[in-house]
Point group: C2
């Protein structure tokens, strides 16, 4: 017997009530029954994005929505700027290359956040750029980029800020209209606590105008104008067959989020991240990121421990699934999640598991030290009782 | 949002694969399809009991099976001996009183186990006693009684040993035939990891002979001879409508248990109990029991903490459900479970939760101390990795 603990930054754990809702008999997507759920879900999604503009649901992974954003904003020969601060930032460049878009890369050392100055310099050097593409949270290095400040740079010029918020929406407060974010992308398997397969997009009026002015949008499936026509109030459906169960599930999780309250939702994630960092600090494990994310935490595995074997041992022997590192960080780090359906005792579990695993690998760790540091932070989640 | 952690000694957590199996469309109980599952389940149940004699499944809670045992072995005016070492031992006396059976009580201080000498003295004083009724694990005080030694006393005399093994079967090794246990009772919501509503009984040849010689069995629903006629191989059904889903679930959990291996099953429970005790010891919390059980651990709440409020706070504010105490122990103890679908990180959770709760109640606890002591024991569950 081995109980399984999924503590990776996506897919994340799915709450039972959501699993049960999605396990109900499937409904047809061209019915009033589906349209009612769709309309409710869209309204809640706008509220989560804090926008009065249109949001969309696309049946694809987050990468599909990233490509949709690039292709609807830009066409062959256009110029775009993108922040490459890790594996996901790099992906903007790969998408642009596929479509022969002139992509200006802002290369950032892994673990650092992009600086506002670097973005400003790129914008000054490339005034023809259609948009700046950036991750709110770069999951490969567990780093947060300053998207509010970046959006402030593009707010009054003819250029968009397009944000991959796949591990940020529903984790941190990012008011779209208020900050002037133009496109905000998310995916179902992160803070939305769903299986993968559904992406969401918030799209500002400014972005819609840019999309409408695109002379040659080179995608059929991801044509956002086609989707907007049918996803609006009164139509309440999707252009192509949607991932019905996931939209039903999204309806459930958005209800959960609003029932918790957005302030409480963000405060919970912030506290879990703080507790996790306190635990790793107490264990003397160095954070990968200089600007650590609220969604997930990456730390270096001690150099005397075989990092590849360590992650596999946790997963296969102990039943605890973390994520490892990619590229240069492969076999050197673990990344643990605290976004979505996670709470205090998940963080305690992360620490207990890391400590036991280090012990089993012969690394001199004092049991309970990381747990204790995390507990001390996390206890704040529960009110003190007066004697 | 509040995640729920069920860590009480019954009902215990139900594994997902069991929930899913029980959620499949219900089958009819007078069909070859049901009889196949019933026969498989019965065979595995005999193997778990380590008996070649008949086992039964009854659609009732454990208390129903306790009453069935009393009423099939004894009739009005008969004499029986019972061990009252807690709330569940006391119940034998209440059942006997209802049926005007002359019940000789062996009263044991709560937290102590019965001594073999006390049982021997009762047997010597009451040679006409039909049986000794005793808990293998007295859950109200989390104490184990010496059932092997008690069975040795009755093995060669005309008296049975009837064991309430509701929190013992599937937790500790208790070979029925080998030890000479005559009736062994269990319930679905403990080590069987199922919802309540199904009881099981292993019944020795000696017990069947005693039951057959009962001149006036005063129950219709719980008439074990009626059940034996139909629950045997070739008939493979129950006398009255059975709790079908629970028998399907029992089939699944017994497959899980044998797939884990009985030795591993018992070793896991033993280690979890040891880790739990080490954790509480490190926190300076005194065990309720002098002979602590493998299934659950009871500890005293520090006297400066409001015990009733403490258990409620854990449940309602922290989402962690333990059991409190009963009668004299009410509001003074917590009882935590480690039987069934529990493993290393459940024990770590117990300790993390108790530490945080004590801290919130203003009790001077050093965070992580209990977790660390538990971890040090529990790490043994995972093999060391050679460098």
């Amino acid at each position: 017997m081995m109980k399984q603990y999924l503590l990776s930054p996506g897919p994340t754990v799915i709450p039972e009530q959501v699993l049960l809702r999605m396990a109900a008999p499937i409904i047809h997507h061209r019915t009033p029954q589906f349209s009612k759920i769709f309309a409710e879900t869209r309204t809640m999604l706008q509220k989560l994005h804090q926008t009065t503009s249109d949001t969309l649901m696309l049946s694809c992974s987050g990468t599909g929505a990233m490509e949709a954003a690039v292709m609807n904003v830009c066409t062959t020969g256009d110029t775009m700027i993108y922040v490459n601060a890790g594996k996901f930032g790099e992906r903007w460049g790969n998408i642009a290359a596929k479509h022969h878009i002139h992509a200006i890369e802002i290369k950032v050392t892994w673990g650092d956040a992009v600086t506002v100055d670097a973005v400003k310099a790129a914008l000054d050097a490339h005034p023809q750029a259609k948009a700046v593409f950036v991750q709110a949270s770069e999951t490969s290095t567990t780093t947060e980029n300053p998207i509010q400040a970046i959006a402030a740079l593009t707010k009054d010029i003819d250029c968009l800020t397009v944000v991959d918020a796949i591990t940020a929406l529903g984790v941190i407060d990012m008011p779209m209209d208020d900050w002037g974010l133009d496109i905000v992308i998310s995916g179902s398997q992160k803070a939305f606590m769903l299986p993968p397969g559904l992406a969401t997009m918030g799209i500002s009026e400014k972005a819609w105008a840019m999309i409408e002015s695109n002379p040659d949008c080179q995608t059929f499936y991801f044509d956002l104008l086609t989707e907007r026509k049918v996803q609006q109030a009164g139509k309440d459906t999707t252009a192509w067959t949607p991932a019905i169960s996931l939209i039903v599930g999204l309806n459930e999780v958005l209800n959960m989020m609003f029932s918790e309250g957005l302030d409480q939702l963000y405060a919970r994630h912030t506290l879990l991240a703080k507790g996790t960092r306190a635990g790793f600090n107490a264990l003397g494990m160095k954070l990968v990121s200089k600007v650590p994310a609220t969604s997930a935490t990456g730390v270096f595995i001690p150099e005397t421990v075989d990092g590849g074997a360590f992650v596999k041992y946790l997963r296969d022997v102990m039943g605890v699934t973390f994520a490892g590192g990619q590229d240069d960080l492969k076999n050197r780090i673990i990344r643990v999640a605290h976004l979505g359906y996670y709470d205090v005792f998940d963080v305690c579990n992360i620490m207990s598991a890391v400590e036991i695993a280090l012990n089993r690998f012969g690394y001199p760790v004092q049991m309970g030290v990381g747990v204790a540091a995390a507990q001390t932070v996390l206890a704040e989640r529960f009110p003190k009782v007066e004697a």
